[in-house]
């Protein structure tokens, strides 16, 4: 159970952060174009 929760927490925490960074890179790229 703890392994499942670990996978879930890492997916949510790191996942949201990485998605936000990717969105920011895309937005900055759009602005430059």
């Amino acid at each position: 159970m703890w392994k499942l929760n670990m996978a879930f927490c890492i997916a949510v925490g790191f996942g949201c952060f990485i998605i936000a960074i990717i969105k920011t890179i895309q937005a900055e790229g759009k602005k430059r174009r």
Binding site: W2, N5, M6, C9, I10, G13, F17, A20, I21, T24
Partner: protein, 497 residues
């Protein structure tokens, strides 16, 4: 309306702003508070509730602060004057003062960490290896917690000087440059430590302790309280410092996406720290639970130091850990100093003069905390809980100005994600505040049966509701008395065009 001053400061890029606001958020709350909170709140459920708190507490509050700074291009007092009227300038000044009072004692921690970083680099671990936990405990007690702590005071002064030098150099040359180096460094140092710790035999017990989940914990209000408090104190949401940094943001800065990024970046830093500290303690210590209950200072300056001293490769681990802690603490102190500086700059002072005045204030007020640990602990409680009040002020100010109006005028037009509910949660903040703040006050009262209202001497009644209200009232009264003077001088915006 504020007078326009030509040629203001601005971050060189969005990444510069993001590193700086992440630097403000990532601090000791992530590295030494989060692992301890995870341990004392039974692991997994606490972390999941932290995620919930990020969405409904941190993101909307960070948006509220940021929009005030970006819209007015003035710091706390000036923004409240411009958006709500001259008679409200004192409210913004109060928010800034709570943040500055917090900085006055927080810089003491930066001094401790600087001293330990230097100690570890010069062979302190050898002495700890020989003397053990007793030596490490005695050393920290003599250094920092036995008044008058003259040596800790010396490092406190040094920490103010380092921070002031960065602020002197301005936004791009000082604050942004420092954070662009320190914040990626914090993540890389923690990631490197995580790899080393994960290879220790028995480290998995720490991961299990951190992530094990008991469904009953979701019904425990204390764990909810701890999760929301952690989100509030770690992310820095509603403290007024995001507000100050957004004074230097570009006109089309995406407040909502940036708030989301910084909130989860802060959580990632906390999770990395948790996955370093807990497995290290479980792999290396015969009694891990006792260590996790030793308090922040005991955990960091005594037990972790002792564990590093007795581990192969522990020197490198200790240097990496204290470098990460130093970078995190310094980037937060810079934000607190800049809050005072920007508010004074809005009143017409030059950056150099404003920085000197704020540094002198830090020196005089913070010296009491540096010299006497009981004063430090009092200030930690009073201004830590006071920051929740600042969050309430920002939510009420947003409601008064108009939640939809702020969304339509300032957040949505520049947002790439446009998730309105994350912003509109701000209207429920007063209820969240009542739960968290009310519980803290109730808890504090229960520690002093029949004496909860007493406040003097503060070294005896360190945590009473009486002492908290007494100290907040002093700051509020000073701000109210100076309101006319402050409002009249708040005419210098950071207008770029």
């Amino acid at each position: 309306m504020a007078e326009i001053k030509k040629g203001g400061d601005q971050f060189s890029s969005r990444w510069g702003l993001l590193c700086t606001i992440l630097g403000m958020a990532v601090g000791t709350g992530n590295i030494w508070r989060f692992p301890r909170e995870v341990a004392s709140n039974n692991g997994g459920a606490f972390i999941i509730l932290c995620f919930l708190a990020l969405f409904i507490w941190a993101v909307p509050l960070i948006c509220a602060e940021s929009v005030f700074g970006k819209k007015t291009r003035m710091a706390n007092a000036g923004a409240f004057k411009v958006l709500l009227g001259s008679k409200f300038a004192w409210v913004g000044a109060f928010c800034a003062m709570v943040c500055i009072m917090l900085g006055c004692y927080y810089v003491v921690v930066l001094g401790w960490v600087t001293k330990y970083l230097l100690l570890i680099a010069t062979g302190f671990l050898d002495a700890v290896r020989t003397g053990g936990t007793e030596f490490a405990t005695q050393f920290f007690t003599d250094f920092a917690t036995t008044p008058p702590s003259y040596e800790a005071w010396g490092w406190f002064v040094f920490a103010i000087v380092i921070s002031a030098v960065i602020i002197f150099r301005g936004i791009q040359g000082g604050i942004e440059t420092a954070n662009k180096i320190m914040i990626p460094a914090v993540f890389l140092l923690l990631a490197a430590l995580l790899v080393r710790v994960a290879l220790l035999p028995g480290a998995w017990k720490g991961f299990e302790y951190m992530y094990h989940i008991d469904p009953q914990d979701f019904l425990n209000p204390r764990i909810w309280l701890a999760a929301f408090t952690q989100a509030a104190w770690s992310s820095g949401a509603g403290w007024g410092m995001f507000h100050v940094y957004y004074v230097y943001a570009a006109k089309d800065e995406d407040i909502e996406l940036n708030s989301f990024t910084v909130t989860f970046g802060d959580m990632v830093a906390a999770m990395l720290a948790g996955m370093v500290v807990l497995p290290a303690v479980f792999a290396l210590s015969p009694d891990p639970e006792a260590i996790m209950k030793a308090g922040a200072n005991g955990l960091t300056f005594v037990h972790l130091t002792n564990l590093f001293a007795n581990t192969p490769g522990g020197f490198i681990m200790a240097v990496l850990f204290f470098l990460a802690l130093f970078s995190a603490a310094l980037s937060s102190v810079i934000a607190m100093l800049e809050t005072g500086t920007r508010n004074l700059m809005d009143m017409g002072f030059s950056r150099v003069k404003a920085t000197v005045y704020v540094a002198i204030f830090f020196f005089f007020v913070g010296s009491a905390s540096a010299l006497n640990n009981k004063v430090f602990e009092n200030q930690d409680m009073v201004w830590g809980v006071g920051l929740l009040v600042v969050g309430l002020i920002y939510s009420l100010a947003s409601i008064k100005y108009g939640i939809d109006r702020l969304w339509d005028e300032d957040i949505a037009p520049c947002s790439d994600i446009k998730v309105k509910w994350m912003w509109t949660c701000i209207k429920f903040f007063p209820l969240e505040f009542a739960f968290v703040w009310g519980w803290w006050m109730w808890d504090a009262a229960s520690w002093y049966p029949g004496e909860w209202f007493k406040f003097w001497p503060i070294t005896v009644y360190q945590y009473t509701p009486g002492v908290m209200i007494f100290e907040w009232a002093i700051i509020a009264i000073v701000c109210i008395l100076l309101n006319k003077f402050i409002a009249a001088r708040l005419v210098h915006t950071n207008k770029i065009d």
